[in-house]
């Protein structure tokens, strides 16, 4: 996924951001750097502020105090907004309320028209993104004929066609059924693996954070902890206080270790990140079942 040793620059920089919503302190002292090529997940329960900070990254909101820089442009300067919005694309939670176009094609075209691309360029990119997201079969369909997962893929296509530097997924899987969720997660994985995209993924689902490069956990408007998935998911620390749960494999392993009759052989250093690693970890114990 790109050359990790090459010098990476920060595309988005948040510096001690505070955001007041009326009297409510929605964001408190948030400092984050997102570098090119990163897959960052911002985890948090509902109301933690994760969507609020996400909306700062494309100047939909501006900080009450502190600064947000997108490619060194300050979001508070309205002259920058146009460029910022071209650089930072966003896929929203509600699949229905972000499709403008009368057909799939029309919706993909909408963003490209907004940034003033020529007819030839629009035609070219339209075919590219339809290919990338496998929308050929539904390209002429109208929104009401699409499933939730399909609508989200159309939204992704529309954003991709604008060739942004960063794509933010703001709880883009929360309202989908399992099939739709898989469609979107597959699309994100393809963007990362095949196109070295920079992705910020906002979610409350811990399983989606396991595959990230870097995880940030938010709670009550504050950034409570950050690190690689390996660093974040330990048996210490209290994710429940933040409205989150450990991934199943870790939860189960912990219960298993607690239940282990012969505690001399327990190994708390192992952190199984998925079910296969869990099985491997369990195999190391001589289970007579």
């Amino acid at each position: 996924m790109g050359d990790k040793t090459a010098a990476r620059y920060a595309i988005i920089e948040a510096d001690q951001v505070m955001f007041y919503y009326g009297d409510n302190i929605a964001l408190s002292n948030i400092s984050i750097d997102i570098t090119q090529g990163q897959h960052v997940v911002i985890l948090g329960a509902n109301g933690s502020g994760k969507s609020t900070i996400a909306k700062h990254f494309n100047a939909l909101l501006t900080p009450t105090k502190g600064d947000i820089l997108v490619k060194k442009m300050n979001t508070k300067d309205a002259n920058n907004t146009w460029e910022i919005r071209k650089s930072v694309g966003m896929v929203f939670q509600n699949p229905e309320n972000q499709i403008i176009g009368a057909t799939v094609e029309d919706d993909i075209i909408f963003g490209m028209e907004n940034i003033g691309l020529s007819t030839e360029e629009i035609a070219k990119r339209l075919e590219q993104v339809i290919d990338m997201l496998q929308l050929q079969a539904i390209r002429k369909k109208e929104p009401y004929q699409l499933s939730g997962g399909q609508k989200q893929r159309v939204a992704i296509a529309g954003i991709l066609a604008m060739e942004p530097d960063v794509i933010i997924f703001d709880e883009a899987t929360s309202m989908l059924d399992p099939e739709g969720r898989n469609e979107v997660l597959k699309a994100i994985a393809a963007l990362i693996n095949e196109h070295s995209a920079t992705i910020i993924h906002i979610t409350h689902d811990i399983e989606e954070a396991i595959v990230a490069d870097y995880v940030l956990i938010m709670s009550a408007g504050m950034l409570v902890t950050e690190g690689t998935p390996e660093q974040i998911f330990t048996y210490q620390g209290n994710l429940e206080a933040y409205g989150l749960q450990l991934p199943f494999s870790m939860q189960f392993y912990k219960l298993f270790l607690d239940a282990k009759a012969d505690s001399s052989t327990v190994n708390y250093d192992t952190i199984p990140m998925n079910i296969d690693e869990l099985v491997d970890a369990l195999c190391k114990y001589s289970l007579k079942m």
Partner: protein, 265 residues
């Protein structure tokens, strides 16, 4: 259930009319309306009638679709006819029963006026049957473009487009809401007028709230995709006039000129 209702009445087939530019059809429609209300001579009515038949054939729309499209408004034609028949007291008396009397002028005038209405309804129905809603909106936008310093043409067209796009969604939500409130014992659409009005609130309030939320989320999504009105905006889908469009427009202009000529001579 409700979400299956066809929006407008567009029938997606291929015909001469379907292939015309929407602007051609809109302009032709306008000119036809001018003609219908100016003509006075019998031969002119016959010309119009032949135009009706010609357009019907060119549209390849079957009687079934045409009737279904016109049916909701046809009652107005009947109503107008009977109104004239009963009220107009000119000409010779043809029939009398009690205080009801029918005069020859009533019949003739009734016929003329309802014929004009019929033709008007026919052409507007054919317009929506042969032109997709979005194409029609685009045609209107293009025709209004010269006025863009006076009225916000682009914004109006976009509002129309978005509204049309959301009709199936709103119908589906309404269906779900009716079911949800019915499931709680709220009887929608039953009982006395007062009862029905009372039971409409559990439907209207949530729909309004959903719509406001939708408008807000859509605006945010549009802004996030670089929307800032028509400044710097390009348009991908272009409308183009071809030879057939020019032909149709020429014929309509000729016909209208002749009608005007007859009128003023």
């Amino acid at each position: 259930m409700l979400d299956q209702i066809l929006i407008g009445q567009y029938v997606a087939i291929d015909s001469f009319l379907h292939r015309l530019d929407p602007r051609t059809k809109l302009i032709a429609m306008f000119l036809i309306v001018v003609n219908i209300f100016i003509v006075a001579e019998t031969y002119q009515y016959l010309i119009i009638m032949s135009l009706v038949v010609l357009v019907f054939l060119l549209s390849k729309i079957g009687f079934k679709h045409l009737y279904r499209g016109m049916r909701p408004i046809l009652w107005f034609v009947y109503f107008t006819f009977f109104l004239h028949v009963l009220i107009n007291k000119d000409g010779e008396l043809l029939w009398q029963y009690g205080f009801l009397s029918v005069y020859s002028e009533g019949i003739i005038q009734g016929f003329i006026i309802s014929f004009r209405l019929f033709v008007l309804i026919f052409f507007s129905t054919i317009l929506t049957l042969t032109t997709a809603p979005m194409t029609l909106t685009q045609g209107i936008e293009e025709l209004l473009k010269p006025l863009r310093r006076l009225i916000p043409v682009h914004e109006i067209a976009l509002m129309l487009t978005i509204s049309i796009r959301f009709i199936p969604t709103i119908l589906r939500e309404t269906d779900k809401l009716i079911k949800a409130q019915t499931a709680r014992g709220g009887s929608i659409g039953q009982g006395s007028i007062l009862k029905r009005v009372k039971h409409v609130i559990p439907l209207v309030v949530p729909l309004l709230i959903i719509s406001f939320k939708r408008a807000e989320e859509l605006a945010i999504a549009m802004e996030a995709r670089g929307y800032r009105g028509s400044i710097g905006r390009t348009k991908y889908r272009q409308l183009t006039f071809n030879a057939f469009d020019q032909l149709v427009l020429l014929i309509m202009i000729l016909m209208t000129s002749l009608t005007m000529f007859v009128l003023f001579s």
